[in-house]
């Protein structure tokens, strides 16, 4: 029987980690992720898990130790936020390049300066081209569900890539939520054993292996990067399959995105993570009044499900993209909108694209701010300009 818990987001991550029971967890505390580390340390102290926990001296060493551990053949997890993810930057690329199935929770937080501990997506968006799979989670339930699936996706022989599961700092990490967790047996049956690949472990005495070799003279770097691209593309199929398998186990299915009210809609709002809850609650009212507008909540940002997404978004007259990060390119808007614009370029029908930047450094996305955007969208003239200047919701005058 599934258990229904009232827990904060960080506890949902720790609960998934307890059930996964990785061989090695190497972590370093940072707000707002810290409670994940603390809770998991309690599990270790109580002997509830069989994990070697390494309390490293920095996030750089956290990811370095994860890389060593994963190369030795076993399940490895970590968690971080913000500056911590930024400090891991070099190692993120190494983890992906060495094709190591590490799973990490990233509790989204802004990047300095100015120093700010609250939510935005600058951290994970900065890592979007590091070769990690990125799954986004609206709430604690999705965080838990995504983490269980992440292990299977990362270890899949067709993929073998690290996975980052993102969730909003404080808004979700520190708020109590209803979370339905699988019973341990069911969770462990879904997770299965670590998928080891013969010949790829440092601890195979019969078959010593050199990992992380130097590509100085013979030039296989290019091919290795192309192979990563191909693995990322294959991950799209695997993510779908595992999302379907998880539906059968839990009753909660997962694909690339989730739709709300898009049947017959003319305008589609696209967003990531917790903002989707606020947007959905406003759309409910707007739709009751007859507005033809719905929501596409994107779950899979890497790999980028471009083909499917382009086909779906081309069906609307207007696409409004909510971005909790900016590219700092001088008015280009947010990274999510940039990706969507590029994806739509090849479509015969290109919807009007509107980019709303919101919530940087934890600025609240209030219902009033969502209404402000929806009113503006509703008032736009029928003849569309292809792309409008970027809007900044909730920016002080």
């Amino acid at each position: 029987m599934p258990r229904i818990l009232a827990i904060v987001g960080t506890d949902a991550a720790a609960e998934a980690m307890r059930q996964i029971d990785p061989e090695v967890v190497a972590v370093y505390p940072i707000t707002p992720q810290t409670a994940v580390v603390e809770k998991f340390a309690e599990y270790v102290a109580d002997g509830v898990v069989n994990t070697e926990m390494i309390n490293v001296e920095s996030e750089h060493s956290a990811m370095s130790a994860c890389i060593g551990a994963a190369a030795a053949g076993g399940r490895v997890m970590t968690a971080t936020s913000s500056q911590g993810l930024a400090l891991m930057w070099e190692e993120l690329y190494v983890a992906a390049g060495l094709r190591l199935p590490i799973v990490m929770t990233n509790v989204n937080r802004s990047l300095s300066a100015p120093i700010n501990i609250h939510c935005d997506h600058s951290d994970s968006m900065g890592a979007r081209d590091s070769g990690w799979i990125q799954l986004y989670s609206e709430n604690a339930q999705e965080l838990y569900d995504n983490l269980l699936q992440a292990v299977r996706i990362a270890e899949h022989p067709e993929v073998r890539l690290p996975v980052m599961v993102c969730v909003d700092g404080f808004i979700i990490s520190h708020a109590i939520d209803r979370v339905e967790v699988l019973d341990d047996d069911r969770a462990r049956a879904f997770l299965g054993d670590y998928v080891s690949l013969p010949g790829y472990s440092l601890l195979d005495a019969a078959q010593p292996v050199s990992i992380g070799m130097f590509d100085g003279l013979y030039g296989y770097y290019y091919e290795a990067k192309r192979a990563q691209e191909e693995a990322m593309a294959r991950a799209l199929t695997v993510i779908k399959e595992i999302g379907e398998e998880y539906r059968q186990v839990s009753g909660r299915g997962y694909g690339f995105w989730e739709e709300y009210g898009l049947e017959g809609a003319e305008t589609c709002v696209v967003a990531l993570n917790s903002a989707c809850g606020t947007i959905r609650s406003r759309l409910k009212e707007w739709r009751a009044r007859g507005a033809k507008i719905g929501l596409l909540k994107l779950r899979v940002f890497r790999p980028w499900p471009g083909e499917e997404l382009a086909r779906r978004l081309a069906e609307f007259k207007t696409v409004a993209v909510f971005d909790r990060a900016v590219t700092l390119a001088g008015g280009k808007g947010g990274p999510l909108c940039g990706e969507i614009a590029a994806t739509l370029y090849g479509q015969a029908h290109r919807p009007r694209l509107v980019n709303y930047v919101y919530g940087l450094g934890g600025r609240d996305l209030t219902q009033a701010l969502v209404d402000q955007a929806l009113e503006e969208l509703a008032a736009m003239p029928a003849v569309p300009e292809p792309m409008l200047p970027v809007r900044y919701l909730g920016l002080h005058a």
Binding site: V24, S61, A70, Y218
Partner: protein, 315 residues
Amino acid sequence: MATLEELSTRRELLAQGHRLCAGCGAPIAVRQVLLALPPEAHAVVCCPTGCLEVSTTIYPYTSWRCSYIHNAFENAAATLSGVQAMYTALKRKGKINEDFRFVAFGGDGGTYDIGFQSLSGAMERGHRLIYVCYDNEAYMNTGIQRSGATPRGAWTTTSPVGHVRTGKHEGRKDLTAIMAEHHVVYAAQAAISHWRDTVAKAEKAWEYAKEGPVFLNILAPCHRGWRFPMEKTIEIARLAVRTRFWPLYEVEKGEWRLTVNVANPLPVAEWLKMQGRFAHLFRGKGNEEVLAAIQADVDRQWSELMARCRSAVPA
């Protein structure tokens, strides 16, 4: 300790055919350490970025007969601590039965400087592994830049000799002592010229690494950076010991002990004179102060070490 004859029958884990320079000190240090590995044990080697790394693992070839991992420049100790943690976890679960030991080989740049935090963390956490620094006193892989291990007065490409400067201004970091102060199980300073001393220390290192962290600092001269004929590598290392520039000692469970006494030391200038990186100090006049400061560094270091070594000085 194993005899030379015994050592000569052991399988070398670093194979011939690597691309290190003829006369390089680094592979000599590596072989002295790896030959001391109990033959029934398996080793996992981790190298930070550096000469040893780039020269032994040119894809698709590897010189390592044991398992090997390179991650990046500043994190060999953290990386290896992850490998060792996985070994512990798998062993506890009964998924692995073999006896594995763990050793990192880093140059002084990757150890004294950029890898210092990672090293300090791994030592403090008590991981059961050996960290070996092959100290050649500068960033040699990038072409002879000064590091925290470069001695005072040495020319490097980032401490050049100019109209107002005479090489590196600062003295070196005493990393062996700093590691000993981490209260590691075993820390030692060795030189490739004294193979018996180094292998004896390495044998202890492999044994102590079953209990906790071990640090070895092995002087491994680089003729490209130090500017001496390539056939003189061992001689230069020996003279570093004979002048007390590089004392050979060990710190075994907190007890400091000199392992090779230098009763009648030669002046450090005798060692400096053999190396082109110090040649400017002997050209004309005006460098007496620098030379005196280097000798003072050596004398201070020796007397500090003597104060720490409570047991009798070996003959």
